[in-house]
C-alpha cells in the first residue's frame, strides 16, 4: 500500500538565485526512487501539493535530494522549512526515465532551468552503467547556474545562458550541432524548449519529461493531461509520465 511519507529535512541551502537544494531523509522513498520520478509535496497553508523532481538519491544515507526554484507562494513556503523539520510527500510518483543499460553508448542530457534536476540522478545512474554522457544545461543568467561541477564529473558539459552572462549565449538547442554524436537523448525543461528539442531531433530516439499543473498527483483527477500523438485521447503526466517517449505525446 502507498503511504504519505514524512521526510526529515537534513540540509537546506540556496545554491543559486532563488534555487534551493534540500536533502530529505526517508527510507521508503530513497529505496524506491527511480530517475525522473517526482515527489508530490504538501506545503503548509496550500490546498494543492507541489510536484518536485527527485534530483539525487543516496541509498546508504536513505536520503533524496530535491532542487527547486522559488517561483510562487508554495515554493517560498517550502524554502522556509529548516533542517530538523519534516515535510509530507507522496512518492516516488510517476514513471521516470527508462535507464539505458548499454555500456559504451553515448547519450545527451539536455536540461533547461529547473528542468535540470531530474537529469542529474539519471546521469549518475547512466554513468554507473558505463554509458557516455554529454550534457547541455541552459539557464537564464549566470546567477541561476547550479550543478555545473556535478554534471562535468559525468561527462562533457555545455552551459548556455539566455543573456550570455556565462557560457554560450542562447538556447539549449543552439548547442545541438556542437555536441558530437549521440544515440539517444533525455530532456527536461520548459515547454518551448522541449518543442524545439523534439523538432530539431525528430527521428532520433529520445525521452522528455513534462510539467503540468496538478491536482491529485496520482492519476485520479485528470488535471495533468497531455494529448497522445496518436490522437487517442490523453495521457496523465502524473501517472503515465512525467517522462514520455518523444513521439508519444503532442506538445
Amino acid at each position: 500500500m502507498k503511504k504519505a511519507e514524512e521526510m526529515q529535512i537534513i540540509k537546506a541551502s540556496e545554491i543559486a538565485r532563488d534555487t534551493v537544494e534540500m536533502v530529505l531523509r526517508n527510507r521508503y522513498i530513497s529505496q524506491h526512487a527511480a530517475p525522473g520520478q517526482f515527489l508530490h509535496i504538501h506545503v503548509e497553508g496550500h490546498t494543492l501539493r507541489r510536484p518536485i523532481s527527485i534530483a539525487d538519491v543516496n541509498h546508504e544515507e536513505e536520503t533524496v535530494t530535491i532542487l527547486f526554484k522559488i517561483v510562487g507562494s508554495g515554493t517560498r513556503q517550502l524554502a522556509a522549512n529548516r533542517p530538523g523539520m519534516s515535510i509530507n510527500a507522496l512518492g516516488p510518483n510517476g514513471n521516470g526515465f527508462p535507464v539505458l543499460a548499454q555500456p559504451g553508448k553515448t547519450v545527451l542530457l539536455a536540461g533547461g532551468g529547473i528542468g535540470v534536476p531530474p537529469l542529474y540522478y539519471l546521469g549518475k545512474t547512466l554513468k554507473s552503467n558505463g554509458v557516455k554522457l554529454i550534457s547541455i544545461l541552459g539557464f537564464q543568467s549566470k546567477v541561476d547556474i547550479f550543478y555545473e561541477k556535478e554534471f562535468s564529473q559525468l561527462g562533457t558539459t555545455f552551459i548556455v545562458t539566455d543573456d550570455g552572462s556565462y557560457g554560450g549565449k542562447g538556447f539549449v538547442t543552439d548547442v545541438l550541432d556542437d555536441t558530437g554524436l549521440f544515440e539517444l537523448y533525455y530532456s527536461c525543461g520548459p515547454g518551448p524548449m522541449l518543442q524545439a528539442m523534439t523538432e530539431k531531433l525528430k527521428g532520433k530516439p529520445g525521452y522528455i519529461s513534462l510539467e503540468e499543473r496538478m491536482g491529485c498527483g496520482v492519476g485520479t483527477c485528470l488535471a495533468c493531461v497531455i494529448p497522445a500523438s496518436n490522437g487517442d485521447g490523453y495521457k496523465k503526466i502524473c501517472k503515465d509520465g512525467p517522462v514520455f517517449h518523444a513521439g508519444e505525446v503532442s506538445l
Binding site: 500500500m1 504519505a4 501539493r49 491536482g215 492519476g219 485520479t220 483527477c221 485528470l222 488535471a223 495533468c224
Partner: protein, 304 residues
C-alpha cells in the same frame, strides 16, 4: 458504540463518508493507498454517453483555501465504465453511486438507462451542475424548469434512486431543490462547485484554458452549509452534503445543517487518506458533541 450507519434511498451506508465525484476517478489510484471497502460508498467520476476528452490544460488552479478545476467531464464513456470500472469498484463491496452527465436531456436519459444493465450500481447522481462544459451542465442546474425536465426523464428511464446534484450558482437554491423534488428526485446532493476564475498575471489571461472553473475546497464550505440548511427545511428528501469537508468536525457541521451523508472532494488531493482518516475520527467527534449515532445529528442544527 457510536452508530455510523445510515439508510438512504438505494443506499445502506455503514458510514456516511464517500469520495465526491471527480475527485476519486473510479477508485483505482486510491485503492493503492487503502482498502476502499472502508468507505461508506463511492461516487464515481461523471459518465457521458460517449468518451469525452475534456478541456485543454491548464485544468486546475490553486486559490485561497480552495481550487478551481475545469476538467470538462473527461471520461471513457458509459460503455467502458460499465465494462471495466464498475466491476473493479464492485469488488470492494460498498455501494456505488454513478454520476450521470450529458449535453442534452436525451444523453442524460441514455446514460441513466445504461446503468439499468448492472446490479452493481446502487444509485444515480444526476450532475446537472457541471460548470465546465459548453452545453448542458450548469445551465440545467440554474434553470428549475430544465432541471425538472431532466430529472423526470431520468427517473422514467432509470430503475435506480436518483440524487440530483445542485449547483450553488443557482440564484434560488430552494426553488431548484423543490423543482427537482417535485419532478421525482429521491434525494439531493449539494453542492457542486461555484464558478470562478483566476487571471494569470505573467500571461495576462485567465489561467485555466477553459477560462472559468469550478471553485471547491474549504473556501466554499460556508456556502454549502447555508444552502443545505435552507434546502433541508423546504424538502422531504435526504441530502448528501459536500463542499470543503476536510475533517470529522466538518462532517458533523454538515450533518447538523441537514445532510444525511457527505462526500469528500478536494481534500483527497491534499491527503489521499482524507476519507479513511475522517471515518476513523468520526465516532469520537460525534461522542464529543453528545451524539450516539449519525442519524441523531441529521438536521439538529436547524432552529425552527
Amino acid at each position: 458504540m457510536t452508530n455510523l450507519s445510515i439508510q438512504l434511498p438505494g443506499l445502506q451506508l455503514k458510514n456516511p463518508i464517500m469520495p465526491a465525484s471527480g475527485c476519486f476517478g473510479f477508485g483505482r489510484e486510491y485503492s493503492e493507498f487503502y482498502d476502499l471497502g472502508k468507505l461508506g460508498a463511492v461516487m464515481m467520476k461523471a459518465a457521458t454517453g460517449d468518451e469525452r476528452f475534456g478541456n485543454d490544460t491548464p485544468r486546475v488552479a490553486e486559490t485561497a483555501s480552495g481550487m478551481l478545476n475545469a476538467i470538462g467531464l473527461q471520461n471513457p464513456g458509459i460503455k467502458k465504465i460499465l465494462e471495466t470500472e464498475v466491476p473493479f469498484l464492485s469488488d470492494y463491496g460498498m455501494p456505488i453511486i454513478a454520476n450521470v452527465a450529458g449535453s442534452t436531456p436525451e444523453e442524460y436519459e441514455k446514460v441513466a438507462a445504461a446503468f439499468n444493465e448492472t446490479d452493481q450500481v446502487h444509485a444515480l447522481e444526476l450532475n446537472i451542475s457541471c460548470p465546465n462544459v459548453k452545453e448542458g451542465g450548469v445551465q440545467f442546474g440554474t434553470d428549475p424548469v430544465m432541471a425538472a425536465e431532466v430529472t423526470e426523464k431520468v427517473k422514467r428511464a432509470s430503475n435506480l434512486p436518483v440524487y440530483v446534484k445542485l449547483s450553488p450558482n443557482a440564484g434560488d437554491i430552494v426553488g431548484m431543490a423543490k423543482a427537482v423534488e417535485n419532478a421525482g428526485a429521491d434525494g439531493l446532493s449539494m453542492i457542486n462547485t461555484i464558478t470562478g476564475m483566476q487571471i494569470h498575471l505573467p500571461s495576462k489571461r485567465p489561467l485555466l484554458a477553459n477560462q472559468t472553473g469550478g471553485l471547491s475546497g474549504p473556501a466554499i464550505k460556508p456556502v454549502a452549509i447555508r444552502m443545505i440548511y435552507e434546502v433541508k427545511q423546504a424538502v422531504n428528501i435526504p441530502i448528501i452534503g459536500m463542499g470543503g469537508i476536510t475533517n470529522a468536525e466538518d462532517v458533523l457541521e454538515f450533518l447538523l445543517a441537514g445532510a444525511s451523508a457527505v462526500a469528500v472532494g478536494t481534500a483527497n488531493f491534499q491527503n489521499p487518506f482524507a476519507c479513511p482518516d475522517i471515518i476513523d475520527a468520526l465516532p469520537e467527534t460525534l461522542r464529543k458533541y453528545g451524539f450516539h449515532s449519525v442519524q441523531e445529528a441529521v438536521g439538529k442544527g436547524i432552529i425552527s
